[in-house]
Subunit: 191 residues, 2 copies
Amino acid sequence: MSKPNTKVALIEAASRLFRLHGYEGISLNDILKNSNIPKGSLYHYFPNGKEELAVAAIHHTKDIVLAWIEKSFEQTSNPVEAVQDHIHQLADLLNDETEPVGFPIGTIAAEKYSTNEPIRAACQSAFEEWRELYSTKFIEAGYSEKLAKDYGVFILAAIEGGILLSLTTKNVESLLIIADQIPFILSKREN
Amino acid sequence: MSKPNTKVALIEAASRLFRLHGYEGISLNDILKNSNIPKGSLYHYFPNGKEELAVAAIHHTKDIVLAWIEKSFEQTSNPVEAVQDHIHQLADLLNDETEPVGFPIGTIAAEKYSTNEPIRAACQSAFEEWRELYSTKFIEAGYSEKLAKDYGVFILAAIEGGILLSLTTKNVESLLIIADQIPFILSKREN
DNA sequence: ATTATATTAGACTGGTCGGTTTAATTATTT
DNA sequence: AAATAATTAAACCGACCAGTCTAATATAAT
């Protein structure tokens, strides 16, 4: 109990660094140096080492992104505007040095989906919760269940891909183009 | 000249393994063992080591995917059908063990966009050539230049994101949902 | 046949990796 | 104050990393 500040600081540093460089691209020593935490503490809080820390970091990253999405939907009851707002905020954040977005979950998922089951499962749960949040909001806005689910998957995929394109090209244009397409995607057609 | 089979085999092995496990997740020894090529040959053909091999592998992967896209567009003049066909083929290939898709370019791009400029640039050129191919085909099918470009970006992002979701969830459903949405995306509206 | 060049072979290096260990220290409880 | 538990500290480990090096061997050119 009391104040597990060290554990939280460790997860936050790991979340940030894994987001930016992936699982294999960051060493435990990097994370410890970055957060000024001794190695003994890491293995005290995470006896299973890097994998266990990564799973905690993935859940933390998931929560951060969930809050971002939620915030955009709180500002308007129009889901089109909310999704566009979320994408625009991502575009603004991409080059932020204080809380860099990196490629949240995506990098670790791409690296480890076939070789580390606990990490893959953690990434899957992040994607699923993000998708569920979208779908819930779409249903609240009057979309059918089927449409809400399909649109959730589609929006999530387009945003993940858009982040990857924007990071790789060092240019947010891809994300902005995707945001512009959102109104045409989220129609209430019946299919 | 003569027969640089060794070099080609090296690039093919590197392309496959980087696609599956990313840049940091595969060691040079892994690649050499997988292709039965001695280390001396690697540094003979690629004096700059892992980075230079990775750039060659990225270009090779780019060409493979370009050929896949081209093939789908050769089978029909309807771009909607072509894109859907391409996505369905990706879904079929995801679990293929002989030529596994992995997350082509995406993993390396996500890992190294901020820390290795030659690799980032190679990944950018891959994304751009894929996008250009889509756009060219859309223009041939009568879309405006603006639409062709925006749709190219959008389709590329959705497919990249869809692959990532399908790999992470070990389920091609995400890709199939995206394929189903394609007809509604690629309308010839003027904007 | 001789020379020159391209390629293969793998032992070796310094450094870093994730992880372990043991002891010292700090905080909490009684 | 004493005893117990939680936390910190850093030296240390074997494994593996990318990259180097030198010699052997094959191939091509003359």
